[in-house]
Amino acid sequence: MGVSVSRGAVAAKAQARGVRLSWWKLLLLPLMLGSIAAGFLWAPRVGGLGDETYVMYFHVPMAWVGGLAYLVSAFYAIKYLARRRLADDTLSAASAELGLLFTFLATVTGALWARSKWGAYWNWDPKQTSIFLLMLTYGAYFMLRSAVPDPDRRATLSAVYALLAAVAVPFLMLIIPRFVVVSALHPSPVVDREVNRKIGMVLMGSNLAFTVLYVWMLQLRARLQSVAIRKESVL
């Protein structure tokens, strides 16, 4: 029995070795390594930031992917409400998970930057406060999901919540910290015209690399979930 299982595992591994990755997944390698190398060696440092400029090439794409993931979560929530397919609910939840992960990573990289520039990891700056509120909002989304055992009811409630939460995303990530609270420690968005063209190009490359990473992770999560559902239905 043990021998047959191990032989099966070896055969599966050998078969898997022959499987090639999609081109867009392979694209991640040159995109990410190129962005890292260009960020450190090619693009100039921002005058007032110095060495802390490098944090920007990770912090900004993480925040971008976080926001994108929340909006994608809302998109699949709408699809679920329209078609009532649990696969859409799975994708909505998976995207919200990744959104929370990338928002958390953006917060951590921002806190490291803040320690270096502002002297403390946490300063209750409007951007820090609003991102904290956003994480609380999506933390509540997962609490809601874990509190409802029935899959259909959970999916419906989660979809409605994901839609409401997504409405808050542009306000908390962009409008309030940038346009409502004008006095803040956080530097201005780097898409301003005065930012060096090279820095802009590296940021675009890094944003693209992190977006590919997010899509890959989302796809993996959805595929795993569909395998789990298939196995449950067989059992």
């Binding site: 499987v19 990755l21 993996l220």
Partner: protein, 57 residues
């Protein structure tokens, strides 16, 4: 023997137009970031293959 930071300084001389501070610490950070990302990439490739195996079963 050169310390790692100095060795990296030799391997990758400063190229930043606005830099007037030593770069070797930054190069070390870049190498570490690259290694972390490579590890993540290889992990994702492995995970992708495992999921594909599960889908075939």
């Amino acid at each position: 023997m050169l310390p790692l930071s100095q060795a990296l300084w030799v391997a990758a001389p400063p190229m930043m137009p606005t830099s007037d501070t030593p770069i070797h610490g930054s190069v070390l950070t870049m190498v570490v970031a690259g290694i972390i990302f490579l590890g993540l990439f290889l992990y994702l490739v492995r995970l992708d293959r495992q999921v594909r195996d599960l889908e075939k079963q």
